[in-house]
């Protein structure tokens, strides 16, 4: 196992009677993107705030490159940067002023701070907006400025707390591209998100968090496999053929086929292993069998398991265990 960038053991944070973080163990290898996936209120942000030295843990241990967040907060601050859920930039200053200020706070003299700010603005496509107040930036620009601010000094660990929440698809893709480039240069990224899709795109390992606890951990493939390989959604032309279609699909794909509320639609869960190829094979076989049985299919979709499905499956398991 390579060096650990972040390690927590039994991390706890309590607000009143709410155990926001209730014994989280994480081991994040250096140089990777680690996804922390969970719904609102699961404790993701609280966990990140403890790791970034913004909150003191009430129990357990947390280390960033071996430095304890409680005992050596300054050593941790030397290595981390945080891009928060709510943009951590100053709305009342311009983009250039924001970056210049932070560069000065990191020890640059004023002229070099200005140059650093200008270089970063250029790399993030913000040169034209450099002298505009940040309150007039779009959501995507603000998020880019926020990430630029986090790499004024290239951090060893970058915390991205829901970096794409509320962004349009184009801005979201830009953030993803930026994250990939930053990680390729050796920075470890801890990413919190509500979207399985996002964790899947970026993270090499994912921890699923619910009510302050890690309920599953693994590669994106392992997590998806734990709830099946996905689902085939079929829409028929004729509702009267649905019963027959159900029988065909059950034979081809195994037991788990359900009619949808829509009278022409049905959904079949795939039981494949963790490979998408297997899922695609099963799906194409199902389609061929339906055609052979003379059933007209209007629409056919192979869906990845959604966070809802992963999440419900995992929490069900918890209850059962």
């Amino acid at each position: 196992m390579s060096e650990l960038a972040i390690e927590t053991v039994g991390l706890v944070k309590v607000f009143g009677d709410n155990r926001a973080v209730d014994g989280i163990d994480l081991a994040v290898p250096a140089g990777t993107v680690y996804g922390v996936l969970g719904p609102n209120g699961a404790g993701k942000t609280t966990a990140v705030r403890m790791l970034a030295t913004l909150l003191r843990p009430d129990g357990g241990e947390a280390r960033v490159f071996g430095h304890d967040v409680r005992r050596e907060p300054d050593a941790v601050r030397q290595r981390v940067a945080l891009t928060g859920q709510y943009a951590s930039v100053d709305e009342d200053l311009s983009g250039a002023e924001n970056l210049t200020l932070l560069a000065r706070l990191l020890g640059h003299r004023k002229p070099t701070a200005r140059t650093r700010a200008a270089d970063l603005l250029a790399a993030f496509g913000l040169t034209d907006a450099a002298d505009r107040l940040v309150k007039n930036y779009s959501g995507g620009m603000r998020r880019r400025l926020d990430i630029a601010a986090s790499i004024i000094r290239t951090p060893d660990v970058l915390f991205l707390d829901e970096p794409t929440t509320g962004l349009d698809p184009r801005s979201r893709n830009q953030v993803w591209d930026i994250v990939r480039i930053i990680v390729a240069q050796g920075t470890t990224v801890l990413l919190t998100t509500q979207y399985l899709d996002e964790a899947d795109q970026l993270a090499s390992r994912i921890a699923v968090i619910d009510r302050g606890k890690v309920i599953a951990e693994g590669t994106p493939g392992q997590l998806k496999a734990s709830v099946g390989a996905g689902a085939v959604h079929v829409r028929l032309r004729d509702a009267s053929q649905r019963h027959e279609a159900l029988t065909v699909l059950r034979t081809v794909l195994g037991g788990n086929v359900q009619p949808d509320p829509d009278p022409v639609a049905l959904t079949a869960q795939l039981s494949g292993e963790d490979s998408d190829r297997v899922a695609a094979e099963q799906a194409s076989r199902a389609l061929a069998e339906l055609a052979a049985a003379g059933i007209t299919v209007d629409n056919f979709a192979l869906g990845q398991p959604t966070l809802d499905e992963v999440f419900l499956a995992l929490t069900d398991k918890e209850v059962a265990a």
Binding site: A52, T53, L54, R56, D74, R77, Q78, V80, A81, L82, G84, A87, S88, V89, D90, E91, D92, L93, E97, L101, L102, R104, L105, L106, G107, H108, T112, R116, D119, L120, A122, A123, F124, G125, L126, D128, A129, R132, L133, N136, Y137, S138, G140, M141, R144, I151, I152, R153, T154, D168, R170, S171, Q174, D177, I178, I181, I182, A184, Q185, T187
Partner: protein
């Protein structure tokens, strides 16, 4: 009129330029406590530059106070407006500037509730720098208010016996005390939940402190219990010290009292503020 601009549609993250800025991302040496505080002071100045209207309360309010009280009490208390002004002006300057210190608490409250303070608190810098810098910015406001009152006073007939040196020293002493007193409000700013409650507490403290003092009248005519209060009231000592300096009869005892109480205020409320700031 400002418009939203968006460069999102034309931007494609390019590996070369991002790699170049990442490669140049070594941290220079850690900044000193002083230079970090100065950087935050620069931030405060930039905010004033972008929203100059916020200087309204340090110009209009002091002018109003000076005119109001000079003409309200001048005739009744000292026989003539000009005569009363010689007594009142240092006091009204102290009152206005000390009242303005409460905006430090309110301003800090709104500032800290924004996400940017999360970033400041994850930087490896001297912890109080963000707050010290914010108060540096406020010192500019205190100096502005003091200067405005002095100008109005001179126009109305204030002729300080201490000359330029005496007046400048008096104002300097006032600014030192106000800097120290600001930490009371930063503490409340961090302690209380809403901006309104910070405002409410500020009023509750500032009104008795400024009015139950020697600002408007000598305490000799007050009932005994009130005199006791005015004598322990730090504003009384500050006004006495400023008056002494400006009239050319400096009172070393009062000046020392002000400097010592400033140090005590910073020691107590600065420490409490930092404890709250670190815990937030």
């Amino acid at each position: 009129m400002t418009t939203t601009i968006d460069t999102t549609s034309t931007y494609t993250p390019a590996a070369e330029s991002l790699n170049a800025v990442l490669a140049a991302g070594d941290q220079p040496s850690r900044p000193s406590a002083w230079s970090a505080s100065v950087a935050f002071g620069w931030r405060a100045l930039l905010k004033i530059k972008h929203v100059p209207e916020q200087m309204f309360d340090v110009t209009a309010f002091p002018i109003m106070m000076t005119l109001m009280f000079t003409y309200l009490f001048g005739g009744a208390l000292a026989g003539s407006v000009t005569e009363y002004l010689q007594y009142l002006l240092p006091g009204i300057m102290v009152t206005s500037v000390v009242m303005i210190t409460m905006y430090t608490g309110v301003g800090l409250k709104t500032d800290i509730d924004k996400g940017v303070f999360d970033r400041f608190r994850t930087l490896p810098i001297w912890r109080p720098a963000a707050l010290v810098g914010a108060i540096f910015g406020d010192v500019l406001r205190y100096v502005t208010a003091g200067t405005v009152i002095l100008a109005v006073g001179l126009v109305l007939g204030f002729r300080p016996g201490g000359g330029v040196d005496g007046v400048l020293l008096g104002m300097a002493l006032l600014v030192v005390f106000s800097f120290a007193f600001s930490w009371v409000w930063t503490m409340f700013g961090l302690l209380l939940r809403t901006e309104k409650s910070v405002m409410g507490v500020s009023m509750l403290v500032l009104f008795p402190l400024t009015f139950l003092s020697n600002v408007f009248v000598e305490p000799d005519t007050m009932p005994g219990w009130l005199r006791v209060f005015t004598e322990i009231n730090p504003i009384t000592h500050l006004v006495a010290a400023c008056r002494g300096l400006m009239s050319g009869t400096p009172d070393t005892g009062e000046i020392t009292w002000v400097l010592v109480s400033s140090a005590v205020l910073i020691a107590i409320f600065g420490t409490l503020t930092m404890r709250l700031y670190n815990r937030k």
